[in-house]
Amino acid sequence: MTDAAVAVRGLTKVFPVPFHRQWSRRKPRDIDGQPEGVTSREASYQSVVAVRDLDLRIEPGEVYGLLGPNGSGKSTTLKIILGLVSPTRGQTEIFGRDSSLVESREAVGFLPENPYFYKYLTGEETLRFFGKLCGLSGARLRERADQLLELVGLTNARDRRLSTYSKGMLQRIGLAQALIHEPKLLVLDEPTAGVDPAGSRDIRNLIVDLKRRGITVLLSSHLLAQAQEICDRVGILADGVLVCEGRLEELIAIENQTELVLENASDALVDQIKTLATSSNAKLIARRRSTTTLERLFLDATSEGSNK
């Protein structure tokens, strides 16, 4: 059996609440009296349980979406997987290597939510900086930076300072730096948050492209429609607990319903189908004119005049 891209077992994270905030917050929303499975010693201080008893297993090559409302523990989970935050209990591994080990990070690229990079660096310098942190140098690094600038479509902006970049461009350069050392796993925290539809589409296309190249992607999002488009599997977190998990099509399929989409169908034809359905014990429950999505409309409209 090969190692899972990400394995999380029995993960619990309790954040201490700074003393001064305990007084100012009268009725904290997500503070439990005595969280389940948390020892009394841990609970003797007021604390926030960000993640509770989480088990996850992400197979190599899949795109996994960690979904949930703001504050449900998605970011904390990702940070623990990346070793940025230490778990209170439980274990996380990346390709079989414990997250607390620095070398586990060789196989992973990370794009934080709303990333800020050093504003005084140009796009290319940013990639070179992060490349050096991953042990790249010389021709190899230059080549890799060129490739990635091409991949994320920032070749023309390579010599511009990041302070002049738009939100979408920052997100793309962030994606490029996450990929600089050719990681097998990509962790993206809200990759499309705050990006306009065109930028968001670009990023989703990139993710699909990466999946095609065999890269495992773990992303968190609260934008469900977008996650639906690209994720193979999703897990839904609520208050730090994984409430639902599975393959996307299985989760959202309505077992006893089938959709037909017809072009140039006359009213007579539809009536005929309806009769046919009734005669075989089926029932037509909806009949409506197909619509495009607002996003599609927006993308078509905006891409006509300008070539983005």
Binding site: T2, D3, F15, P60, K79, L82, G83, L84, V85, S86, F95, G96, V102, E103, R105, E106, A107, V108, G109, F110, L111, P112, E113, N114, P115, Y116, F117, Y118, Y120, L121, F129, F130, K132, L133, C134, G135, S137, G174, Q177, A178, H181, K184, V187
Partner: protein
């Protein structure tokens, strides 16, 4: 699959290249600070202004020039060490740049060391610039005074002229100033490392700077507290333990003020210089390790 994994396991526990990348980046970041230029220009103006102080005798002039210049260097480097370091880590935390860096295979120790080395480089550059300015001003004034002396003494015997010129030269530059400058630099390094340590558990820059200003002043009085603690036993136990705490927690910054004695011509034995330098490096190392320790326990 297993082959691939083997290929990437060759991770180095400490990599100079990674530290260097963080160092150069930090240096770039710091040279973009306006406060750096304001302080540097102020210090240079102070040193440069000494050139117009011709009202006094040359001994007085040289002495004041040296006092003011080295004093300005000492204060500027200390201040820069504190101000530049205080914002370094909090800024990265606030901007979340630290996430992207530490999500790479970079040990936190390397991050801390890289950041600190960036500050130390900046301090070294500033010290060099100020030293160059100081030596240039001193040289210009020395030449002027030598010319003047020669002109006034043109009729005097050779021996007397030589004596007079020697007097001018010896009161201008004494070679002990150079170890003095090195000690000024080491004091700034110590303060930078200490500031980094404080900034790992403080949450705001202002908090760090205020704490550091306190430490700066108390550090200069530490020797006094320490000697009272170790020699006077007549004090009450509260005073006694207070003095002990001051002596143990704070560094003895007075030790690094050798330059106050050097400017007036005191010679610094090599052994003393070496011991002071070792103490400075020792402090800097310990504070860096402490900063690393706190940073390792930090939830990002």
């Amino acid at each position: 699959m297993s082959n691939e994994t083997a290929a990437i396991t060759r991770h180095r526990a400490f990599s100079v290249a990674r530290v260097f990348a963080i160092t150069t980046n930090t240096l770039t970041e710091l040279t973009r600070l306006k406060v750096f230029y304001v302080l540097l220009i102020f210090a240079l103006l102070l040193i440069g202004s000494s050139i117009f102080m011709a009202r006094l005798t040359f001994q007085q002039e040289f002495q004041i020039l040296k006092d003011v210049s080295l004093g300005a260097m000492s204060i500027f480097t200390s201040l820069l060490a504190i101000v530049a370091t205080a914002r370094l880590i909090p800024q990265d935390l606030e901007d979340r740049t630290v996430y992207t860096i530490l999500a790479k295979p970079v040990p936190r120790f390397e991050y801390i060391v890289g950041k600190l080395t960036g500050v130390l480089l900046l301090l070294a550059i500033s010290t060099l610039v100020m030293s160059a300015m100081f030596l240039a001003v001193l040289y210009i004034r020395e030449q002027a005074v030598l010319h003047e002396t020669l002109r006034q003494m043109s009729a005097a015997p050779r021996e007397q002229i030589d004596d007079a010129l020697r007097a001018v030269r010896s009161s201008a530059l004494n070679i002990d100033i150079f170890p003095g400058i090195v000690i000024i630099y080491l004091k700034a390094c110590l303060l930078a490392a200490l500031t980094l340590f404080v900034s790992t558990f403080a949450t705001t820059n202002i908090f760090t700077i205020v704490v550091m200003v306190f430490i700066y002043f108390i550090g200069h009085l530490q020797a006094t507290a320490r000697e009272y603690w170790l020699q006077e036993h007549s004090t009450g136990w509260i005073t006694h333990s207070f003095l002990a705490l001051v002596a143990l927690i704070f560094p003895d910054l007075q030790t690094f003020n050798l330059v106050d004695d050097i400017v007036v011509g005191a010679a610094i034995p090599l052994g003393l210089f070496a011991k002071t330098a070792v103490l400075g490096i020792f402090y800097t190392t310990i504070y860096t390790l402490l900063a690393t320790f706190v940073f390792y326990g930090k939830e990002l």
